[in-house]
């Protein structure tokens, strides 16, 4: 990676326009090419008839070691932003300044299908500016990381989508760019590889890399990024905490929901879980191995017979630590309600966790309401008095403690 002071990425008043009508789009492209060949200045031209702004005056900066998630509905301008950052298309107004080398990760569609994995890798490495002397070592690292073995010498067209994704990730990660652009790739591949990718991205950020992630997976956004940018119809409407950005995005989708209309927003849950808590009996943060209470507040839109389940996950939502399901169904009347459960001994060590819950219809087993699966989970902090044992557990990254009776 390159070392420089200040932000690694600066985006200022970025605007990009498209026309939905193909013929107009082609004529506008011809006009733009002619203007560029005549040496047009960088001023934003007036909006032409039939044009809309895919990106409208978007500005932000990104520092080293920072990861930002770009969230927004389909057509909000996420892909357009990534394409401009990657240098594939140019803006109609504004400017992007990159102080470092930029790599992009996009499923494997960026590979030439006729070339082998190795040839694609070498081509991309050469473009990236890697000296020839480092190519051999890079190839070894990529093969090792992707775990695709001899397939590296087969044309990419023969790869499964999972293999292509593995190779794409391995190439992008091992080239060690200063800025990595990631577009929805982590949805492909098996779970263990996804975990490997997320772990690698976190290492990349820790090592000073800057990450721009476009993902529809709220889990991934929260697992990787602390910062989130919400795009709405091309405008940047929120830049702040990733969880809040994701929550605002989901809220927008709910508001946009129109029953019977496909593809706009998401339906509100029949049983909307408004609040989910695990608290100490006094209402404060619970202590490790102490008593605690689980509280779920909800609003139902009808009568339901439902099964309730709750789960506690690691902070990165990669591992479910513990869970409980109420064995007998309960009746949920319409309107607001509350469910409580007592936990005699919270089997967790001190630290940060996330909470998920699900209300499932007794007959169809379809989820009536969820928290932490398709949307933002709730957080849980477990306290513990400072002790040698506690420190030992933290060092070992122990998550739970067994309730044992020592017999000898």
């Amino acid at each position: 990676m390159t070392d420089t002071e200040g932000p690694v990425l600066e985006v200022e008043h970025l605007t990009k326009r498209f026309a939905r009508d193909l013929r107009k789009a082609l004529f506008f492209a011809a006009q733009d090419i002619r203007a560029d060949l005549r040496g047009r200045d960088g001023k934003l031209p007036p909006l032409r008839e039939g044009e809309f702004s895919s990106l409208d005056d978007v500005s932000f900066t990104l520092d080293r070691g920072e990861a930002v998630a770009i969230v927004g509905a389909n057509g909000a301008g996420k892909s357009t932003l990534l394409k401009i950052l990657h240098g594939l298309i140019k803006p109609d107004g504004g400017e992007v300044r990159m102080h470092g080398r930029c790599g992009a990760l996009e499923l494997g569609s960026a590979f030439d299908q006729l070339l082998t994995g190795r040839e694609n890798l070498l081509t991309q490495a050469t473009i990236f500016g890697l000296p020839r002397s480092e190519l051999g070592e890079l190839t070894e690292r990529v093969i090792d990381f992707a775990g695709i073995g001899d397939a590296i010498d087969a044309p990419v067209r023969h790869y499964s989508s999972g293999m292509a994704a593995r190779l794409a990730f391995a190439v992008a990660a091992q080239l060690k760019p200063d800025i990595l652009l990631v577009d929805e790739v982590l949805a492909v591949g098996d779970l263990s590889f996804q975990r490997k990718c997320i772990a690698h991205l976190l290492e990349f950020i820790d090592a000073g890399g800057a990450l721009v992630l476009v993902s529809h997976s709220v889990h991934q956004v929260q697992a990787i990024c602390r910062r989130g940018i919400l795009l709405e119809k091309g405008k940047l409407t929120f830049d702040g905490d990733a969880v809040e950005a994701a929550a605002r995005h989901l809220d927008n989708q709910r508001k946009a929901y129109v029953p019977g209309k496909i593809g706009v927003g998401v339906a509100p849950d029949p049983v909307a879980i408004d609040e989910l808590l695990v608290v100490a009996p006094d209402g404060g943060e619970p202590n490790a191995e102490g008593p605690a209470e689980f509280i779920m507040r909800y609003t139902a839109n009808d009568d339901y017979e439902a099964i309730i389940g709750v789960s506690i996950w690691t902070a990165d939502q990669m591992v479910c630590v513990a869970g409980a399901v109420r064995p007998d169904p309960i009746s949920i009347p319409p309107g607001p309600g509350e469910i409580r459960a007592r936990i005699e001994r919270l089997p967790l060590t001190a630290g940060g966790y996330t909470l998920g819950a699900m209300v499932v219809d007794k007959v169809t087993l379809q989820p009536l309401g969820t928290v932490g699966f398709r949307n933002a989970p709730r957080t849980l902090t477990v306290n513990e008095e400072v002790s040698l044992m506690g420190n030992g557990r933290a060092i070992m990254q122990q998550l739970t403690t067994l309730d044992v009776t020592w017999l000898g």
Binding site: T2, T15, F18, A25, L26, A29, A30, D32, I33, A35, D36, L37, R38, G39, R40, D41, G42, K43, L44, K83, I84, L85, H86, G87, L88, I89, K90, P91, D92, G93, G94, E95, V96, R97, M98, H99, G100, R101, C102, A104, E106, L107, S109, A110, F111, D112, Q113, L114, L115, E119, L122, T123, Q124, T126, I127, G129, L130, P155, D178
Partner: protein, 281 residues
């Protein structure tokens, strides 16, 4: 060359920062021979993979052209006045040169069209695909030469030391074809009218190039052929191949120079147009 460690993307034309524009073009060019050669080899392997006759298809088109015109000549349809070599040698060598021009003319558009999916997603130099296409056209020309040379020996029409100039002739033809092809690829990536029109024009061009008839020195046709930029290249390469007189080295040098200039202009223009083309792919 140093690593490229920063980028500025603005709405302004890249031509307003010519140094940066040229540096970026040259930087990308480093990878073109390597990536282009790999693509060429792969193209070659895949092109004939599902074909029973395989590489025979390289020689079939000019062979059919030659045989057709030889047949027509025998039937007395052609007035081969002014042809100073066996007619088969004349048409065979002319067809190879003309075919090379057509293949280098269509290579940029065809190759870039085939690579649409990857170019939409990856920041790879488009020049690699153009290079691969031109390599394929030149390779095809070489294979045709391998078939044509023994035929010329049999016909007693093989040139002597002038044969050494044939590669120069091929490069001149390819330069002109690629320069023109890449320039046309800019509107051709947007409007399908361009490839369609090109098909019509190349069909017409065959008849306006002295491939199967001798170039009339006078008259309207002679005048038109004089304006055809391929004429000097085809005639001169044929003269070098067969060791006959009638080559036009000076016009050939001029058209090759024009071809090179055209290629440079087309290359830089394509790079200016590239982000607009990718946005509409």
């Amino acid at each position: 060359m140093a690593h490229e460690t920063g980028h500025i993307y603005t709405a302004a034309s890249p031509l307003r920062a010519p140094r940066r524009f040229l540096a970026s073009a040259l930087y990308d060019l480093r990878v073109v021979p390597v990536a282009g050669t790999r693509l060429f080899v792969r193209n070659l392997q895949s092109k004939y993979r599902q074909s029973a006759l395989q590489w025979a298809w390289i020689v079939v088109p000019p062979l059919i052209t030659t045989l057709t015109w030889v047949f027509l000549n025998h039937a007395g349809v052609i007035k081969n006045k002014g042809i100073n070599m066996p007619y088969a040698a004349y048409v065979g060598s002319g067809a190879c040169g003309f075919q090379l021009f057509i293949e280098s003319l269509t290579a940029p558009m065809n190759e870039l069209h085939q690579a649409t999916e990857v170019l939409k997603h990856a920041r790879l130099p488009h020049e690699s695909w153009v290079f691969a296409g031109v390599l394929l056209a030149l390779f095809t020309f070489v294979v045709r030469m391998v078939v044509l040379l023994p035929v010329l020996v049999l016909l007693g029409s093989l040139g002597g030391t002038t044969l050494l100039l044939v590669p120069l002739g091929a490069i001149g033809i390819a330069l002109l074809g690629t320069g023109l092809g890449l320039l046309l690829a800019i509107p051709g990536r947007l409007f399908t009218d361009v490839p369609q029109a090109l098909q019509v024009v190349t069909g017409l061009l065959f008849f306006l190039t002295p491939v199967f008839y001798a170039r009339p020195k006078h008259g309207f046709v002679g005048h038109v052929l004089g304006f055809n930029p391929i004429t000097p290249s085809v005639i001169t390469t044929r003269a070098w191949l067969t060791g006959t007189s009638g080559g036009l080295p000076v016009p050939f040098a001029i058209t090759s120079g024009v071809g090179l200039t055209l290629l440079l202009i087309a290359w830089l223009s394509y790079r200016v147009a590239q982000p607009h083309l990718v946005a509409r792919l």
